[in-house]
């Protein structure tokens, strides 16, 4: 394996007295899909903008393609594809013109851009909308166009900030499919998300971020293995507040978490656990048996749920 694509040591970003990113370390290798998972305000976007060389580093070290973003920002940006959180599409231009002019920003000749535009319109399923004005597109279409735009320069690395936030479930699945195809082609992707299903579906490796710091790092399976049990039994009782009721479940599973509206039991087998609950004479109002996921990892690491 060659040099890592991105390497951060004690990377810090401060805005005035507020520390958005607090001395984080991570390494991203060529060909992997790397995720930053965390709630809003965890420092994901600030980290992304530093990688994208549009936000100066306050402290620590960051190398992208082995280059320093503070010194060689332009060279880094020339090799990056960026999908910002807000699409930032050019609303005054058509779909095709958005792609073309973006290619021109990279000083690509029009003869190179033209076939790529056709190819990317196909990839983004926007061929029929090629002459439409951007403002007439749906949210999902705009997002796909933003991704297509980021690919116009054949970037070595694509960074996507919250790629599916604000989309309906159907549009999200179309988008995941497109990102999955990119991954199949061997692209290196960095994705931030506060959706655990997105992180589980797409990421080879991820870091869990909270309050500007990295709480854990690993593949989705490793993280679940390390910080949760295989299965979870969710129990809802017929009470207003579940606080303090975890004592009732003592001895079942390896750990319990109490949320306002339910109690989570971390167990090997949810079926067996439910029998044990019933054996204690507890009659739940509702139960859910499921496999543990990244949401549980996050809850365990921070004591809070990811999406409120």
């Amino acid at each position: 394996m060659g040099e890592p694509l991105v390497e951060a040591r004690n990377l810090t970003k401060r805005f005035g007295t507020f520390t958005a990113v607090d001395s984080v370390d991570f390494t991203i290798e060529r060909g992997e899909v790397f995720g930053f998972l965390g709630p809003n305000g965890a420092g994901k976007s600030s980290t992304m903008r530093m990688i994208g060389a549009t936000s100066p580093i306050t402290e620590g070290q960051l190398k992208v393609f082995g280059l320093d973003p503070n010194a060689d920002g332009r060279e880094i940006r020339a090799r990056l594809g960026v999908v910002p959180q807000e699409d930032m599409l050019d609303e005054e231009l058509t779909v095709t013109d958005n792609l073309t002019i973006y290619g021109r920003y990279f000083s690509l000749p029009r003869s190179v851009i033209k076939p790529r535009v056709d190819e990317l319109l196909e990839f983004a399923q926007l061929t029929e909308k090629r002459d439409a004005k951007v403002e007439a597109l749906s949210g999902g279409m705009k997002r796909r166009l933003t991704i297509a735009r980021a690919l116009i320069s054949n970037p070595e690395l694509v960074i996507l900030d919250e790629p599916t936030t604000g989309l309906d479930p159907q549009a999200r699945h179309v988008l995941w499919d497109r990102l999955y195809r990119l991954k199949q082609r061997g692209a290196t992707l960095i994705i931030t998300t506060h959706y655990m299903d997105e992180a589980e579906q797409l990421c080879d490796r991820l870091v869990v971020m909270d309050g500007g710091r990295i709480a854990a790092e690993g593949s989705p399976a490793e993280l679940i293995d390390r910080h949760a049990t295989p299965e979870v039994l969710e129990v809802r009782l017929d009470v207003d507040d579940h606080a303090g009721r975890e004592a009732d479940f003592a001895g079942i599973g390896s750990r319990t978490e109490v949320l306002a509206d339910r109690i989570l039991l971390y167990v090997e087998h949810a079926d067996e656990a439910l029998q044990e609950v019933r054996a204690k004479g507890i009659i739940p109002a509702a139960t859910v048996k499921r496999r543990a996921g990244l949401e549980d990892v996050f809850l365990h690491l921070t004591g809070r749920t990811l999406v409120d």
Binding site: Q61, D68, M88
Partner: protein, 273 residues
Amino acid sequence: MTPTESRAMGARVIPSVVRPTYRAQHVLERNWIASGAFWKVMIAGFFEPVFYLLAIGVGLGAMIGDITLADGTSVPYAAFVAPGMLAASAMNAAVMESTFNVFFKFKYGRVYQAMLATPIGAGDIAVGEIGWSLFRGFVYSATFLAVMGVMGLTESWWAIGALLGTTLIGLAFGAVGMAAVTFMRSWQDFDLITFVTLPLFLFSATFYPIEVYPPWLQTVATFSPLYHGAELVRGFALGRFDPSMLTNALVLASMATVGAIIAVRRLGRLLLS
């Protein structure tokens, strides 16, 4: 490299992010595509001078007759006022383009943020936008001048040199307008622009020679950049050259330089946080 070294280096080279690097033409290209129907721009550029010249030059001119210049010669009022109008229209076009349009793209279109994710830097954006405002202004002014020529308000082919004056006006007001827009927070702040440009428009030797003022007020008028623009344009249009035109050009060029430096610096700081 140690972190300290990297920080010290970073501190030194951040301005390079702001330095223009011959990519400003892509910003111009973007605006060219966005302007779409260029004939609309041309038509606006054509009717504005025709209206002004008919109303003020021909209409008012009929009542005023000839006007005596500083050198003692006299010209019809329409021929006197037309270069003033031309200078004022160059100023207005540059101010509009560099303030309203830039503010919109900056705040709402987020066009610049998208550009900055590419190799384009803040300096390229500033240079590109000022360049675009110059280009549009040039088209406007050339149309205006052609109309003046047709109406017989120019003295000789030297009048084409007036475009040098309008270009300098465009550069000066475009750069300062762009610097000013980086300080604007909301649309309300734009009232200030009218507050500044309106008196410039009215009192800068546009409608009458400043020699009608008492000496102290003449001195005040020389602080108006549009006065220098109007003098320069008029000198060419009427074919009456004076060494003071060099000063006029120098004033506008200095204003352009200072405005451009502030615009590039401020834009870089605002966009890259």
